[in-house]
Amino acid sequence: MKNYKEMELFAKEIRILTSQMFLHRGDGHIGGAFSIIESLSVLFSNYINQGKVKDYFVLSKGHAGPSYYATLALLGHIPMDQICTLNENGTILPSHPDRHKTPGVDCTTGSLGQGISQAVGIAYGLKIQKKSGMVFCIIGDGEFQEGEVFEALQFASGKKLDNLIVFLDYNKKQVDGLVKDVSCATNFTLFFESLGIHSVTCNGNDIQEVDTAIKQCMNNDDVANVVILDTVKGFGNKFFEKQFNPHHVTFSKEEMHALTESVKEMKKG
């Protein structure tokens, strides 16, 4: 078990390594990769068991792959000397997770909406066979628009998947702009309540809040759980936090500089 300080340090390490991967590559889905780093840190520090009990992690918003890979590398699943091969010819680290390519990756994702369906399938399979193990799944707030997400949530509710926690990365942005402009403003709390799903909202970029929210979602019998992560797209890098939409960025000189500087700062502090 890691304490908050250690999880904060782990988040920083993930962010540094993810930044280095992006710097090496020169482009990438930086916004959505950065907004979930605190959740990755907490989940992989204290919740996801890879031992006798096998828990599953599904990155449904597969384009955030780089920070997931950084996490797995720091945990020793992915060889460190491979980490900067992101998207290179013949790499084991494709932009979107592939469970047959990357050690430690549970599910193949990248077509939005399908990860959460896989998550409810695994959760149901475990539950019906009385197998232990939790399923943790991160979806995007843009991804949430896919009808398939609604289908999966109804299944999760109807089948009372209490071994499933879905994390909604509410970073308010998607490719073409703000979620509320491209799609519609949604009251997620009411939405989940109407489906009979237990939800908790927290500051998704605060280790302590994420941890507390997960605690409130563990061990709730006969109900599926959602953590609404109120996040900032590009969190952890002032430059990208301020950008209108750092979804997929081909880094300019200025952006490369901002990334390099923030890595230096993180390493210092």
Partner: protein, 319 residues
Amino acid sequence: MSWKLNKANEVEEIRKIYGLTLESLIKEGKPIMVCDADLAGSSGASFIYTKYPNNSVNFGICEANMIAAAAAMSMTGLKPYVHSFAPFVSRRVADQLYVSAGFAKNDIHIYATDPGYWSQYNGATHTTFEDLAIMRSIPGVNIVAPSDAVQFKWVLEYYEEHGGIFYNRCTRKPIPKLYEDGSTFEFGKALWTHKGTDVALIAIGASVNDAIQAREELSKLGISASVIDLFFVKPIDEELIKQVIREHKSVVTIENHNRFGGIGEHIGSIIANEGVQVKLRQVCVNDRYGEVGDFKYLKETFKLTKEDIVIAAINSLNK
């Protein structure tokens, strides 16, 4: 049909032509509706959404809803033009296309971008080597694979005038401009761009350029090759193909698509039906999933390079 090969060495970015052509249709007062599913920013038409709000709508990340809704919109007198990456407007929405567009006989133009290896760094989930197979099997779907910007533009305008269902399988990126501006084409007609006598290279999309380059290599080896830019995958130009298979010793098909359900199979069936004795070799993907990488790597990995065409051509002529 009156087209001319472009003598100049030019390239044109297809997505730019998408935005510009749609804008000129709007300016002419055509009742078009430009639709996207959160990839307007990638389509080349993003400015349409701010400049012409009455001619554009973003559905959000909801491709299934977009296809059925856009197709039905045509019942109100609008001509919908939808865009997304190819997998999300083919694999993901096959039933919406089948029922709400095809069976219901509504109009829809689908710009399916970055098919096959064009998906590059997005990898397998974004790669389509099967979209032609899916689309070909839905009655009434016209499939085009333009080889350059001039053909691409012609399709956009043709659809506006005639309606129907068009699956426009094309990259977003800059590719050589094969035809002169103002060239016109014909529905369902292929283009015999280069005449030869030994082997016929029949290609689609940007692979036509690879075929042209392979032709030059072959001529150095003393092999005379024709190049046929198929353009229409469906309806296929049977008339021209029947002529081509009779006038050559062998045929090579080239497609950035799986062997199954692609043009090679189709042309093979025409050869068999005609009972013509001609060898067929297919340059295509051999039943594989996509992966990430640069063009050179992907073309080599999936055996779709100009060298692969040359080898297939030589092979097809060997007794």
